[in-house]
Symmetry: C2
Subunit: 330 residues, 2 copies
Amino acid sequence: MPHEIAIVTEQDLRKVVKLDLAVVDVVESAFAALASGKVVMPPVLSMAIPEANGEVDVKTAWLPGFSGFAIKVSPGFFDNPKLGLPSLNGLMILFSAKTGLVEALFLDNGYLTDVRTAAAGAVAARHLAPSRVQTAGVMGTGVQARLQIEAAHLVRPFEQVLVWGRDLAKAEACAADISARLKVPARAEADPARLVAESQLVVTTTPARESILKADWLHPGLHITAMGSDQDEKNEIEPAALVAATAYVCDRISQCEKLGELHSAISAGLWQGPPPAELGDVVLGKFTARRSEDDITICDLTGTGAQDTAIATYAEKLCRSVGIGSLIAA
Amino acid sequence: MPHEIAIVTEQDLRKVVKLDLAVVDVVESAFAALASGKVVMPPVLSMAIPEANGEVDVKTAWLPGFSGFAIKVSPGFFDNPKLGLPSLNGLMILFSAKTGLVEALFLDNGYLTDVRTAAAGAVAARHLAPSRVQTAGVMGTGVQARLQIEAAHLVRPFEQVLVWGRDLAKAEACAADISARLKVPARAEADPARLVAESQLVVTTTPARESILKADWLHPGLHITAMGSDQDEKNEIEPAALVAATAYVCDRISQCEKLGELHSAISAGLWQGPPPAELGDVVLGKFTARRSEDDITICDLTGTGAQDTAIATYAEKLCRSVGIGSLIAA
């Protein structure tokens, strides 16, 4: 008995799924579900393909209260730019959580991941940043540098943006893009210490393997979201900062202790206490990370299958409601 | 830069991909690649969804010499029959092994898995069964009972088929189907010991949790392929048989010691020797399982991502060559 599957391309998804407060709320609900303890989220399936300088990751999660669950496949083939192709691609498949039937195929080339990753940054900023942010800083100059700032601005409408990158020209281009997009003054800042000193909210978005944000730079009233590390050898925040902050929170303990900033702090022997709180605990009010405007908070995001399930379920409803995508009987 | 993705439904795949010697050769080449040692095949990603009595498995493998690699998603939702839906569904995604770009989506509802699983049985029979098989027996009465016999007949054109099942009526129906399909006499056999005694080739295709084929029943000139067990609690062959046989071979040691007949033999304390040979070693001539017509051989198949990559790569070429499937720019 064939059933209808919606097939939606990146081009169509970009028309329908926007980085807005509705997406932030959906991703926030995924973190709340994660903290409920009823989620099923297996470890990431990861396959390296040395002969092609490639890798592929598969993530999934089942969340209570969601009508579907997503399986996301993310290939990264790092010689692709030599062929004029992007390194990152991929798709999401949405299955009915009741029957396991395929409901939608999102040929998104990573677009939904970009959006749900930025939305998680907004969830972190909403619950952890000081209530008033005048200046936001971003370290890194790629797609997520732009999107993280755009997402954070939805929940903390700051008045200035500082951008640091190893390449000043790229930082300037990124600042120009942000300024044009948000209508907020943005400029490149060559000194990362000064960027942190002047900001109340800092997002790190780099693939750094040695810390780019030092513990000495922490100051009262600072929130940091570190979203760049997703492999054991990556590290953006000096491990001592995790202990020095008033509160350190992560998206998923089991991932962050292997792939996130927490991994580096544990490896350095600096994190010896009990496991940290998760962002979902903060969303649900089970853990209060910030008790005053002067507290210093850090949120470590490695990216979860729960976010994929949340955005895929949301995207499917949006696409059906506006009639976008091809339907195929299969 | 959009590229074209082929989307092929089960209905179209059934027109193009047949259980024939070409498919057997393709799956044999996957076993050869597995034995070459260069394969990348991560452990299966498995997620249980207790609230829906469901589960989902994800398999993948990269094989040297294949232009693509497949990721297969297999949901099993066991309350679906109450809704008039099949329990098993799923799809395969074929990626370019060079760029990681999606090349094809096979909305096959498990059809390609059925074919590649049966083809593996033919590979086992080709390399392990006595050269002359007069009677083939099958235990189990489902889709694989029919397909395994059909596949084995491609490589050992036997003259008679015996079918045993817990439900005699189902065994009779299965025998009738096989007889109509292969134009070979087939009948139900109520006594499994007699089925084994009269057969030179036996395939077990059940989800049994207690052995249905006893060690005492082994006789000279017998080959057994056990393909039913794919979970740690399943067991078709009495563990003592694995040791009593001249040679026991498995598709993948790392899987069979967890999910296959080998798992039961290890748990029973009966398998204490070195790891067994893999089917790929036999294909490549690295290991000779059968030295005479009187030897007794057993092959344990749990199903590998390598077979999925092989059949998906093959299906994509076939579909492109005959122009079947929809192309979508994504």
